[in-house]
Symmetry: C2
Subunit: 408 residues, 2 copies
């Protein structure tokens, strides 16, 4: 009888989600008590349809080193929510499959919704006295998981946002004899961590982005216009960063002012267009040159701005998860605790996944300035260590080279 | 009496336009017959208002090495067209200023409109027997200048486009059990060079982007929809790259189907929204998941994807321009000629700027497939050498560090 582990990825990808996969795989290969490392293809949904692969393939075809720095989810992802009712027949179906493949532990790399999956599977296992362990490996560019200092995926996304906003600010200032406003729309539905990271782009006091708006505070278009007017008095080429999720004090998203808004499979509103709406508003009100830039998916898949710190922690989250599972841990998510003091040091740990899933950690109110248009030094001190270090991504023919499933 | 040179930047910036500035400055400092290198601040328009600086400042404040890899136009740019009538009083005004500062040669780094400025100033000089030389240093991400193999600025933008499209394709394929279409909108009003560069993103035969549409051929929404349908038969997560300037056979831009379109100061139409329009069209017609991504200004200002080949050539264009001017050349633009054969080799040269300005080099018809939805191997062979090599950009606090005027 063999002892195997199973790993899957779920939800939106990040630039380092495959770093965690790499951590699980390499630790799995390293531990003598583990025979096989299997991967779910397209998460729990694909696994239910029998889609899985032996991760040994990556050794055979030589792509394991490439996986570490490949954006997206190497194993494929899904957006599949398990039923709330643990008596649903999908649970015994899943556990039969786990047992068929002699799975000792399951690692699920994802955000809130994925932690919900880990919570349900571990609770079902407890109810039915199954010895299978379930471990959540956190990833999200949104940094909105509770009970951890931060989440792998955020550091690289933050580095991308800060680098790109700095470049956009330089680009915006070439006609520095003519006033202009550039509005940069950044991902983040309810949590403004990534938008806040744009503050790292500043090279000197008063540098762009001068105004930063998070979804943690209500957004008032009139206040915004007044703040833009005031900022233009000292900054000719103003850069404003906004979260896609900014909303007014009634909870109406600013993008809804202009658009019909669809919903995704979880019922989340699909946000786009706050930047475009505000571009038109400023243009019509102030009559100056305005443009908007939506940073879009590169925030979560750019390999050019990988944070070495982030990638190392993503790998650690995976390998540490395997170690803890082999010691018997289950129903937990891997967390990071920051050591007090001047130097940056993280200790990995675990926390009850049921207390994490479906919760959302937002930027603390006292890290946002009272007028709601900036973040404080405390946020900068928190975020700066997370973007440190560069990663050399394998290149071929002048471009980053990535791993693909199916040997393509 | 001192002998000085003057350099300016104009038009939209690129990631390596400051490389050419660096080339002019360092060659100017190196040549014993040149006393001062002056910079126009905000191009010819700023110079007319007396805005200039002594480039020696960059040595004093230590920022010269940073300038080389700083995106944007370090000296500031302008969009100012000199009058067609060489009898206009602006010409003697400019030449009086040139003479006041004992300028021997003027270097103007820019695209078509900037070459028009060089043409007019050199023609005025010839008419009035002024010994001042005028040299155009080419830059444009659009690669649309004639009489040169390619233009500095294109290689880095092409590398950014190809890298980013490859990452977007990876990101788009994580839900590879559900069909989707991702439409990527790329800069290029009339010339599709940059959109064509997205073909470099392919890692294997049939890889994304499967469909590529340039403004060189008429775009038919119905044909497009049929091609998308067919492509989806073999590619679950389809990536389509379109130029912002795609238009139908009556010349109407696709973005005009949905939007009011403004014009810039040169009367060029301001294009945005073709991607969004087609996103909605595909969504409504095929009823599957569709998203659009506008690559936006990062195409011209990303320092993360600098091509070493491009940067070296940008510097060479500047330094070679100074050498030629000191030998007496005027009214010319620096060009590159490709050596026939397997290895990539470029020879710098010069061409009559009056034959270049206001012309536009588009992608040759035989480099586009007959069905108008792809580029040929000949284009790939042309473009691939231009994106080779990486550049290490100076870093500080985890982010690229740039040079700023005014010591900020």
């Amino acid at each position: 009888m063999s002892k195997n582990i199973l790993v899957g990825q779920s939800g939106g990808p990040t630039a380092v989600i495959n770093g965690s996969l790499y951590g699980v795989i390499t630790k799995g290969f390293e531990m003598p008590q583990i025979d096989h490392v299997y991967g779910m293809v397209n998460g729990i949904e694909g696994f239910l349809h029998g889609q899985m692969m032996d991760m040994q393939t990556l050794i055979k075809d030589g792509t394991l080193p490439l996986v570490k720095t490949t954006p997206g989810a190497y194993l494929g992802s899904c957006r599949y929510k398990l039923p709330e009712d643990l008596a649903d027949p999908v649970y015994p179906e899943l556990f039969t499959r786990f047992e068929e493949h002699e799975i000792e532990a399951v690692f699920y790399i994802g955000g809130n919704d994925s932690m919900d999956t880990v919570s349900k599977l571990s609770r079902y296992a407890a109810q039915h006295e199954s010895p299978i362990r379930f471990i959540g490996i956190p990833k999200t560019i949104d940094n909105d998981l509770v009970m951890t200092d931060h989440t792998p995926g955020f550091g690289s996304a933050a580095k991308y946002v800060a680098s790109t906003v700095r470049e956009i600010a330089v680009d915006a200032s070439v006609y520095d004899n003519k006033p202009s406003v550039t509005i940069v729309e950044i991902m983040g539905r309810h949590a403004g961590w990534l938008t806040a990271a744009s503050a790292l782009a500043r090279m000197f006091k008063g540098d762009n982005p001068v105004l930063i708006y998070l979804p943690e505070t209500a957004f008032h278009p009139e206040t915004f216009l007044a703040q833009v007017r005031r900022a233009l008095e000292t900054t000719t080429n103003l850069v404003v960063c906004i979260s896609e999720g900014i909303h007014d004090n009634t909870g109406t998203f600013i993008c809804e002012y202009a658009n019909d808004v669809g919903t995704d499979t979880f019922g989340h509103k699909m946000l786009t267009g706050s930047g475009k709406y505000l571009e038109n508003l400023v243009k019509e009100t102030l009559g100056i040159k305005v443009r908007s830039v939506e940073l879009n998916v590169s925030q979560r898949c750019s390999s050019a701005c990988l944070s070495r710190t982030d990638l190392q922690e993503a790998i650690l989250a995976g390998s540490y998860g395997v170690e803890r599972a082999m010691e018997g841990a289950t129903g937990v998510m891997i967390t990071f605790e920051r050591k007090e003091g001047d130097s940056y040091e993280m200790t990995p740990g675990t926390a009850d996944v049921t207390k994490i899933c479906n919760e959302e950690k937002t930027v603390p109110a006292d890290w946002i300035t009272p007028d709601g248009s900036d973040v404080t030094e405390a946020f900068l001190n928190y975020a700066r260590p997370l973007i440190q270090g560069q990663v050399e991504v394998p290149q071929k023919d002048g471009l980053p080279y990535f791993a693909f499933r199916n040997g393509k």
